[in-house]
Symmetry: C2
Subunit: 126 residues, 2 copies
DNA sequence: TCTCGTGTTAAAGTGAACTTTAACGAAAAG
DNA sequence: CTTTTCGTTAAAGTTCACTTTAACACGAGA
């Protein structure tokens, strides 16, 4: 099963320009082409794209993703190193999530203050 | 209690240049000065900075933060609107956190695959 | 008095991650 | 056929959030 750039664009919500950009940067492997030179994405490439998006959206920089991709290209000898990178990134994400939770607490407290003020006003308005 | 820019820099882990930048952009209110024109941050201003950092680190753009600041400056009539902004942002953050959790799941599955491969190797190596 | 550290400003520069443009080719629709 | 539509490339442009630079000023210590 092969997909045109337009189909991938719709499936992933990523602009075609971004897909081309990722390929040019080596974040995606070179994608196969049809007779007219147009990209055709295969399932393993989409699998790969899914992981890239997961890493990106959890805050890994493109440079680090590229680095990781290089390891994938080097084959099975880098399995351990790759696992370590994912583990460290995961721990990083978890730390950031905890920070976010603390920040949400701050925001909640602010909202609670707004609620108190609003209630205070209502009491006055009765 | 008043704090120099250096003290705030250390307390918040924000470069002095960023503090000046935030003030210039209207993200912080105009900070009081000493006789020599040097900034002195008061406690309410630090409180304010804390909320700004919380909003920024949870992904609110500087433009939206600036917008929110404008509402604060307009006083109590904007309390309701401000509460709504915080609520919507909070829901936004929660959506993003759920996405992040899904992405983490993807990363975990990848790591599990690496583990399986590693184990497979061990079995062969015995 | 000199110079060092810390501060000030406005304006220019930076880096990351795309996004747009320009110029072109192939193919499907009318 | 011809005109859209969709794709291609390399290169230049954009946006966001700072960060650096340059030129200057104040106050403390030698």
């Amino acid at each position: 099963m092969l997909f045109t750039i337009k189909e991938v664009q719709e499936q992933f919500g990523l602009p075609a320009s971004t897909l081309r950009f990722y390929e040019k940067e080596g974040i995606l492997p070179p994608i196969g082409r049809d007779s007219g030179g147009r990209r055709l994405y295969s399932e393993p490439e989409l699998e790969w794209l899914q992981l890239v998006v997961a890493l990106r959206d959890t805050g890994m920089t493109m440079d680090h993703i590229k680095n990781y991709v290089e390891l994938v290209k080097q084959g099975d000898e880098t399995l351990h190193e790759r696992r370590l990178i994912l583990l460290e990134h995961k721990q990083d994400v978890e730390r950031k999530m905890n920070q976010t939770l603390e920040h949400l607490e701050k925001i909640n407290r602010k909202m609670a203050i707004y609620d108190l003020l609003a209630h205070g006003k209502k009491d006055f308005l009765i």
